[in-house]
């Protein structure tokens, strides 16, 4: 029964959507304090390579590899963030753009460790490891009526879904806390925020580092879901793609990032002919959006209207 419903292709697209949602959040969090980061692809690459190399060469468990990858990315975020965050957001955008390119150059050139532009293969796959683990506990996928590979994809999907929910919960909780209010006041007017006694550099570094952490986490998961990474996966285009998820969906509300990542990951899958012209469409999308609706498709006003409509319907 369950075996007939679960389509591995849909599960895989679902996993990509979830990874992209994580990446979109990694852009959204710094942006919510007015910091535009173009380095998400670079941080993602650091997370992916750190985790992949640790698990391949030292046989560490995947969980430790992923945590190490995310931490490595956030340490790098602090190192880059502190000098550039003292200045206006434009400097940060340039510095992170440069950082992403340099990380890629290092991956291409450090042949002995990263195998250059060929990339790393044979990265332990998350789903397989979970399957092994489950078997160790005496569980067989056949017991719930699904095949092994269905179990593999399903377990990846569930792990990613759980992580995305935890991250969303964390970000939403943070937004309603003292930190979140400090961040949004910095976004509105950093001079005024500073005069209210908010340490703006501290909070900017916090939000920027969180972004780097989420990107590193997403990168590490990406490596263990795909099983193969190369420097081309973490190019500037990836960073722009992630930026578009957030900007298209709505950069003022967290649900915007989720919607943007969901819609724009699904679109090339549903409309095959779009796939070839994807970046051209992205370019036009950015130009039109900034001119017509700079806050993105979803914003606080629209969400409020939807809510009012819904509650009215409920009364009737």
């Amino acid at each position: 029964m369950l075996g007939e419903i679960l389509n591995t292709y849909y599960l895989q697209i679902g996993s990509f959507i979830l990874i992209n949602i994580m990446l979109a959040i990694s852009v959204y969090v710094p942006l919510s304090s007015g910091q535009l980061s173009l380095g998400s692809a670079g941080f993602m690459g650091v997370g992916a390579y750190t985790s992949a190399l640790l698990t391949i060469h030292f046989d560490l468990p995947i969980v430790i590899g992923i945590i190490a990858g995310a931490l490595a990315a956030s340490i790098l975020g602090v190192i880059v963030g502190i000098p550039s965050l003292r200045l206006s957001g434009v400097y940060l955008a340039i510095a992170t753009l440069g950082l992403g390119e340099v990380i890629r150059v290092i991956f291409v050139n450090w042949d002995t460790l990263t195998k250059g532009s060929v990339g790393l293969t044979g990265i332990p796959q998350l789903g397989r490891e979970i399957l092994e683990f489950a078997r160790g506990l005496g569980f067989e996928p056949a017991m719930i009526g699904i095949k092994n590979n269905q179990f593999v994809f399903l377990s990846i999907f569930i792990v990613l879904l759980t992580l995305v929910i935890v991250i969303l919960w964390f970000v939403v909780r943070q937004q309603n806390s003292r930190v979140g209010r400090a961040l949004s006041s910095i976004n509105q007017d950093d001079k005024a925020a500073e005069s209210m006694g908010i340490n703006i550099t501290y909070y900017k570094v916090i939000s920027f580092t969180q972004g780097a952490f989420f990107a590193g986490l997403a990168g590490a998961l990406f490596a263990h879901v795909i099983g193969y990474i190369s420097p081309a996966d973490f190019s500037y285009h990836r960073a722009v793609e992630v930026l578009i998820f957030t900007v298209f969906g709505g950069s003022e509300v967290i649900i915007g990032s989720v919607f943007g990542a969901f819609f724009l990951t699904l679109m090339p899958e549903v409309l095959r002919f779009v796939s070839e012209f994807r970046y051209i469409i992205y370019g036009i999308l950015l130009i039109v959006l900034m001119a017509v609706r700079p806050q993105g498709i979803l914003d606080a006003n629209l969400l409020k209207k939807i809510k009012i409509k819904r509650s009215k319907g409920g009364v009737r």
Binding site: A95, E101, I106, I287, L289, A291
Partner: protein, 294 residues
């Protein structure tokens, strides 16, 4: 050997300086980073390849064609991506940055579709001619690039300091509102700035084609990044800073390729950004006052 490397470095540096000039002009007047400048420059290079290679035009015609095409692109950029954002309420200062990123991916992928992904050779009729002075070999191409760059820099400096339009541009850069009160048509000046910056980018595109003998859709990004590094190094919106910064980057890259690991040459620009942001965030020639304005 060293002297040859210095000559190579100066040639490369003068090209970088010209690319950085395009960024610095737009930043000086509009206060925004034009992320599409690298791609406009790449289009200029492809116009050069098409006119000299496919159509067989002489080099000077290629320059004119590139200037015309990139000027039109510059006008379109201003008209459709920058103007709609100007003076609109509730638009964050990051909006023009994001919309010019949109232009840059659009241009890069359009030329990817039109010209293909690979490198295209750029043939100049005098690419093999060289002059030997003692033990040093200087290629004629290098001299041509250097002379054109110097003429362009002198021309721009004179234009900015002596002509009426140049003075109006500097006034607008200094303070848009005051300039507008004093009778400067700031709307026209902004268009002029973007068009001139793009045309300079187009010239730089052909010069890069001549220097490296190859053109690809991806070159806009790496060159654009170097241009950005240079304007941070020299001071944002500072014309002199762009020239000096370009030479510094060109020389240090050439030295690294000659005496170090050439694979990391693209990393120098970024390391410079981090160092300069730590030590002297306003850049070599930047002043603290212009920082405050941002």
């Amino acid at each position: 050997m060293l002297l040859e490397q210095i000559i190579n470095g100066i040639t490369l540096g003068s090209i970088y300086a010209i690319i950085a000039l395009g960024f610095t002009l737009v930043f000086g007047v509009l206060g925004i980073i034009n992320m599409a400048h690298g791609e406009i420059f790449m289009v200029g290079a492809f116009v050069g390849v098409t006119t000299t290679g496919v159509l067989g035009w002489p080099l000077w015609m290629a320059f004119i064609a590139a200037i015309v095409v990139t000027s039109i692109l510059g006008y379109l950029l201003e008209r459709f991506t920058l103007r709609p954002l100007r003076g609109k309420k509730g638009v964050s200062h990051l909006a023009p940055l994001i919309s010019t990123i949109g232009v840059s991916i659009l241009l890069e992928n359009l030329s990817h579709h039109i010209f293909g992904a690979g490198n295209k050779p750029f043939n100049t009729p005098f690419s093999e001619i060289s002059i030997n002075i003692g033990s040093i070999t200087v290629y004629l191409v290098q001299i041509v690039i250097f002379v054109i760059s110097i003429l362009l820099m002198i021309g721009l400096t004179v234009w900015l300091s002596k002509t009426k339009a140049g003075k109006a541009l500097r006034a607008t850069a200094d303070n848009l509102e005051t300039a507008s009160i004093l009778g400067v048509d700031t709307k026209k000046i902004i268009i002029l700035t973007v068009v001139v910056a793009s045309a300079i980018g187009g010239i730089a595109g052909i010069l890069v084609g001549m220097a490296f003998n190859s053109v690809s859709p991806q070159m806009g990004l790496s060159m654009g990044l170097k241009g950005l590094a240079i304007i941070i190094l020299g001071g944002m919106g500072n014309v002199k800073g762009a020239m000096v910064g370009g030479l510094i980057l060109g020389l240090s890259e050439t030295m690294l390729v000659a005496y170090g690991d050439s694979g990391y040459r693209d990393a120098i620009a970024f390391i410079m950004i981090i160092v300069i942001l730590l030590l002297r965030p306003q850049g070599i020639f930047g002043s603290k006052v212009s920082q405050e304005r941002r």
